[in-house]
C-alpha cells in the first residue's frame, strides 16, 4: 500500500467523479473544485466556505491539532521547560541510571535509553517532521504549479510532453522510487533533511500538476482572462495575476492533505533507514529504535507513534474539510 495513500485518494476521488479524466486528461467535472467566479463572487464563496467550516466541531478539532503541532515546532519551550537531551528543567544532563523508565510525575512520557526526558524528545521531534513536510510540500507545489501552468496554458506539444511525463512518473512504484532516490542521494551519515525534502517533494508533483493543469484549463477560457489577453498582457502576467488565484483552491486543499501525507512518508522512510539520519530527533527514528525494546518499555514506541498519528491526522482531516467546503458542486 502506498504510504501516501491519500495522494491516490485525492487523484482517485477526482477520477471517480470524472472517469474520463482518469487518463491524465483534464478539464470537465474532474476539476470542478475550481471556483469559476469573478472576484466578488469568489469572496462570497470563501466567506460561505468559512461559515460552513466554522460550524462543524470537527473543523475545530483538526485546527486544534494543527495549531498544537505548529506551536510545538515554533515554540517548543511552551510545552516543555527541559531542553532536548537533558534530564530535567534545571539543565542537568540525563542520568543513565534513569534510563527507560515508564511515565511518572517527573517524566510524563518516561525516559529514553539515555535517561533523558522522553516527553521533551518527542515534542522536539515535531520540529523536524513539520519542517521536512513544509519543505517537501513547497517543492511539490512549485514544480506542480509551474508545470501545470505550462501544460494547461500552452496546450499542444508541451502539454502532451508533460502529460506523458506524468504518466511515466505515476507508473513508478512510489515508495520504491523514494527509497532508491534517497539511497542515491547520500549514504545514511551524509543525508540531511534537505535530501529528504527534495526526494519526497520531487516524487509528489504529478498529482499536483494534474490538478493544477485541469484548473488552468478551466480558467483559461474565462472571459476576463481572454480580455486580459486581448489587452496585450504578457502570458506570465496573466498566469500570475489572473489564473493563479482562481486555479489555486484545489491545489491548496491538496497541499494541506499533502502535509499530513509527507509527515507520514517521511516517518516511513526514516524508519527504514533511508530518511533522516540517525542523530536527528525524528519520530521515525524513535519508533525504529523502540521496536526492539517494546517488551520492557512500550512507552518508547507508543508516545512518538501517538504524536505521529495525531500530527498526520490534523492535516488530513483539515484537507478533507477544505475540499468539501470549497467544492462548488456541493452548494
Amino acid at each position: 500500500m502506498r504510504g501516501s495513500t491519500r495522494v491516490f485518494v485525492m487523484t482517485e476521488l477526482t477520477d471517480a467523479l470524472a472517469p474520463e479524466n482518469a487518463e491524465g486528461g483534464g478539464g470537465g467535472r474532474g476539476s470542478s473544485n475550481v471556483d469559476l467566479a469573478t472576484d466578488d463572487t469568489k469572496r462570497t464563496h470563501l466567506r460561505d466556505a468559512w461559515r460552513l467550516l466554522r460550524r462543524r466541531p470537527i473543523f475545530w478539532v483538526a485546527a486544534f491539532l494543527i495549531a498544537v503541532f505548529v506551536s510545538m515546532t515554533i515554540v517548543p519551550q511552551l510545552f516543555t521547560a527541559i531542553a532536548p537531551g537533558e534530564g530535567n528543567p534545571s539543565g542537568e544532563f540525563c542520568f543513565l541510571a534513569d534510563s527507560r523508565q515508564g511515565p511518572s510525575a517527573d517524566h510524563w512520557f518516561g525516559t529514553d535509553v539515555q535517561g533523558c526526558d522522553y516527553y521533551t524528545q518527542v515534542t522536539y521531534g515535531a520540529r523536524i517532521s513539520l519542517r521536512v513536510a513544509l519543505g517537501a510540500t513547497a517543492i511539490t507545489l512549485t514544480i506542480g504549479i509551474l508545470l501545470g501552468s505550462l501544460a494547461g496554458y500552452y496546450s499542444g506539444f508541451i502539454d502532451t510532453l508533460i502529460s506523458r511525463l506524468i504518466d511515466g512518473f505515476l507508473a513508478l512504484p512510489y515508495l520504491v522510487a523514494a527509497i532508491i532516490v534517497l539511497s542515491v542521494l547520500a549514504s545514511n551519515a551524509g543525508r540531511n533533511e534537505w535530501h529528504v525534502m527534495a526526494a519526497i517533494g520531487a516524487l509528489g508533483w504529478p498529482a499536483v500538476v494534474r490538478l493544477y493543469r485541469a484548473s488552468v484549463l478551466q480558467v483559461k477560457s474565462l472571459e476576463y482572462v481572454q480580455a486580459a489577453k486581448a489587452l496585450g498582457a504578457s502570458d506570465a502576467r496573466i498566469l500570475a495575476r489572473h489564473v493563479l488565484p482562481n486555479a489555486l483552491a484545489p491545489v491548496l486543499v491538496e497541499a494541506t492533505t499533502g502535509m499530513g501525507v509527507v509527515i507520514s512518508v517521511e516517518a516511513t522512510l526514516t524508519f527504514f533507514g533511508v530518511g533522516l539520519p540517525l542523530d536527528s530527533a525524528s519520530w521515525g527514528i524513535m519508533i525504529a529504535e523502540a521496536t526492539g525494546r517494546f517488551e520492557n518499555s512500550p512507552h518508547l514506541l507508543l508516545f512518538p507513534g501517538a504524536y505521529l498519528f495525531f500530527g498526520t491526522l490534523g492535516f488530513i482531516i483539515m484537507g478533507e474539510l477544505l475540499r468539501e467546503a470549497l467544492d462548488p458542486r456541493l452548494r
Binding site: 500500500m1 471517480a16 511515466g168 507508473a171 539511497s183
Partner: protein, 297 residues
Amino acid sequence: MIPVFFIATFLIFIIIRVLPGDPIQAQFGERRIPDNLREAYIDQYNLDESLPMQYVLYMKDLLTGDFGTSIANQQSINDMFKERLPRSLRLASLVIFFETIIGIPVGVWAARHRDSFIDNGILVVTLAVLAMPVFLLAVLAQLYFGLKWGLFPISGIEDGWMSYLLPAVVVAVSSIAINIRVVRATLIETFREDYIRTARAKGANSRRVLGIHALRNSLIPIVTILGVRFGSMIGGLLVTESIFNIPGLGFTIVSAIPQRDNTIIIGFSIFLVMAYMLINFLVDLLYAWLDPRIRYD
C-alpha cells in the same frame, strides 16, 4: 502507453545507474577482485558502454524476456521472480479479498444512510485510519498480536497462509478505508443523477433504485479506481513485507538496495512498472466494456 513505458523504465535506469558505489566491489566486500573476474563482470553487464547504450542493450534483453542475472547471488532474475512473486501475490489477493467483502458493502450502506450518526462515524474513522502510517500499524500489530498475545506468526512464511494473515489485515485496514470512501462518494454522486429520479417516478422502490440503477452506474468509476489501486499495490506492499519478513517482490528490492545489486533493483522495478501498466490497460478495457457509451460509439 508505449512511450510511457519507456519513459518510466528509463527513469528507473538512470536513477539506479547513478547510484554511487561500485556494484562489483560491493559483492566482494574488502577483498581485492582479480582483474579477469572484474572483466567478466563488466562484460556480462555491459558496464563499459555508455549509459544510453547500456539502456538499449538492457531493454533488448528485456524484450526477449530476459531480465538478467543478479550480481549478488548469480541467480537469474526470472527465477527470482518465480520464487518471490507468488508471495506478494498471495498477500495482495488476501488484501483484495478483505477490502472487497468489507469495504464495498459498508460503502454502500454509508451512501444509503448518508449523514446519519453512524455514517458520520464511518467518515471520521476512515479518515483516522488513513492518517495512520502503514509501518506504524504493522509494527504495532506485530508487537501486540504477534509478540505480546501470540495470536499470529510475526515473521517469515513458514506457517503457510497464516503467516500472510496478519500482514494482509494490516494493509487491508487502509485499503478498506479507501474503498468505503470511494464507494460512498461515487454512489452519492450517482444518486443525484436525473435517471434516478426517473426510476423512482416509474415506481421503483429505493432498494431497486440503489441496487440496480445506481450501482450499475457507480460500478464504472469504482472499478476504475479500485483497479488502478490494485495496479500499484504490489509495489506498495514493501513496507509490510519488510516488517513481517515476507520475501516477496518489494522486500527483495529493498534488500537489494544496500547491496547495490542493480540488476535486481532495475529488474524488479521494471516488473512493477509493467504490472502497473498491464493492469491499467485491463482496467481501461473493463471500463469500456462496462460503459455502453464507449462500447457502442
